[in-house]
Amino acid sequence: METCIFCKILNKEINSYKVYENDFVIAFLDVLPMSPGHTIVIPKEHLSDVEEISFEQFSEMTRAVKIIGEAMMKGLEVEGYSVFLDNKSAANQHVPHVHFHIVPRKEGDGFERWAQSAYSEGEADFVATKISREIN
């Protein structure tokens, strides 16, 4: 897509620090990293979110995450990384071209998980039923 910043990176209209590329995906450094080595993995085709992407393309992206994650651990000597994908703007997706983040992690980096709560009596059952009946 012409106005998409990730498509511009793909077409080399914008420079990037490329980490990995194959026929289906490309991975490059996030220029505003949460930690050094923070990498973005995108499909080469412009697809906005997980709903648009095919199972096969999603699998290709995930395979690339595994490959890059291992290289990241060895190359940057980190003992873990967080993988996330923000699907749609309400989930903090800022660029509408589906992408995984891989963020190298270190002891004491201060990245907190979001606060969790408990279900009230009967609520989990109700929720599970609502989701289950929409599974195709």
Partner: protein, 135 residues
């Protein structure tokens, strides 16, 4: 693995709110949700992390994540969701059995991404060279 809480959920030794199951993958509600409907997707076989899981199992997992993400939005009326996997204890992985979180989201629910900052001059180049050595 005997003392793994997720293996016990797979075997039925511990109860769960099960959402989806096939030969290789199980999905159930996280009982301490960030928002109601927070889902965990795990391989039935015990693999600790991305390093241990074979590619074909990983692909089966991610397909279920996609399927369940849509059901979560449609069933609960959410607009969006985050997929997350904390790989290894230093990354905040609490249960050492590979799992994807699907966290449902609503506009302006106040959940923030981790802070970002810029690279120093030359730092980004150094970083990719270190990673690419192992690709």
């Amino acid at each position: 693995m005997n003392d793994c809480i997720f293996c016990k959920i797979v075997s039925g030794d511990l109860p769960s709110y099960k959402l989806y199951e096939d030969d290789d993958v199980l999905a159930f509600l996280d009982i301490a949700p960030v928002h109601p409907g927070h889902i965990l997707v795990i391989p039935k076989k015990h693999f600790k992390n991305f390093e241990e899981v074979p590619e074909d199992t990983l692909c089966k997992l991610i397909k279920v994540v996609k399927k369940l993400g849509l059901a979560l939005k449609n069933g609960m009326g959410y607009e969006a969701y985050n997929i997350g996997e904390n790989n290894d204890p230093l990354a905040g992985q609490i249960v050492p059995h590979l799992h994807f979180h699907i966290i449902p989201r609503k506009e302006n629910d106040g959940l923030q991404l981790w802070p970002q900052k810029e690279y120093a001059e030359g730092e980004a180049q150094e970083v990719i060279e270190k990673i690419k050595k192992f690709l």
